[in-house]
Symmetry: C2
Subunit: 218 residues, 2 copies
């Protein structure tokens, strides 16, 4: 089994020193890479800027990228040959419309930054997904969590979506623990207790393997 | 001797997950904190988000902050009682005018972000500097390096400004080495070779101690 996993944030440069970023650390994606490798999979881990060390398992191949465009290129290259896609990265929705070649000098009291939409990696690859391929997405929502996650699952052609709520203490960005619910296409919801991201990764891998077996045999 | 040092980047939030950041790692500032402590100083290290561990020396007191406003508050509290100020942080010049309480949902193809100027920590404190206090600033320039650094020294009331050029390979953000020139108020320039940031920190501390002794005795 080949698994491709995106992890971490993307950084979208404004100039040589400044960027738009987000608070993803990559912990959940790296834990999933280790858990899939432990389950016998060959793993392509495509990571945005993260302070984490590369997973030690020899079956994990780490590719470091910076921007959403670079992450898309790496994911698009690996996706056709992969059996399972896991989109755990927090990809920037927008990037600065212009990237300055030199450091922007401070000038007026205000500055207007024009942003343009980035490619939606999961949705774009979702259009190319074959029946035997299995896609898992992540959703981080602060309002109407379940409705937004359901919408995301269908629009991006996921088989499962892992819903992270920032409302849960100890869950999400920067924490070593996470508390998630997993939704499937039938609308079924599996809720996990708060647990270490490494333990949750093992649970999610088990769930993916069971659901994928069901998809393949039906 | 009491030394206050700012280090690392600042992160300016757009919403609970996104921020404007920069590529400073804090390495130079943390190395300076360790070098000043080794020289016998009491050090207040005020650090923006950094993956670095707190310096081990017991004379270094670490305060972690996130935004320019928080860094200013911490620096303003410590500056009056400090003999030496070192502004090694890469403070964001601008922050988003509005911080969304909930994660911003992706909507149109473009997004306009209004930014407003942050307080200039070094310049603001510079106005309060007493004759016996000694201030060191850093300048990172990609064009007209010397002229910009000279202008910064006078505007911010620095005694020395350390000029970092992004043009030098192995120097600046993310690297373990750095190559700098140091300018003083008389227009004199001291140029250092490329060296480890930890070694450079020791050289800069020696230079500060010599120059400060000259200022105090004249």
């Amino acid at each position: 089994m080949r698994v491709i996993i995106t992890a971490g944030p993307t950084y979208e440069p404004l100039d040589p020193v400044r960027f738009l970023g987000n608070r993803s650390t990559g912990k959940m994606g790296y834990a999933l890479a280790a858990a899939f490798a432990a389950a016998g999979a060959q793993v392509d881990l495509i990571s945005g800027p993260s302070a984490l060390p590369a997973p030690a398992h020899p079956a994990v191949q780490l590719t470091r990228v910076e921007t959403a465009a670079e992450m898309y290129a790496a994911a698009a290259a690996g996706a056709p040959a992969a059996d399972v896609w896991v989109f755990a990265a927090a990809v920037a929705d927008y990037r600065p419309a212009h990237v300055a070649a030199e450091k922007i000098k401070k000038a007026g009291d205000t500055l207007t930054l024009e942003l343009v939409k980035n490619v939606d990696i999961a949705a774009t690859l979702g259009h190319t997904k074959r029946a035997e391929q299995f896609a898992v997405g992540f959703a981080l929502e602060t309002t109407n969590e379940l409705a937004h996650a359901q919408e995301k699952l269908h629009r991006k052609n996921f088989d499962l979506v892992v819903l992270n709520s920032l409302r849960d203490a100890g869950a999400g960005f920067g924490h070593d623990t996470n508390k998630v619910s997993v939704l499937d296409r039938a609308g079924q919801v599996v809720t996990f207790e708060l647990m270490a991201k490494t333990d949750l990764a093992g649970e999610l891998v088990r769930l993916v393997l069971v659901r994928r077996a069901a998809v393949i045999t039906t």
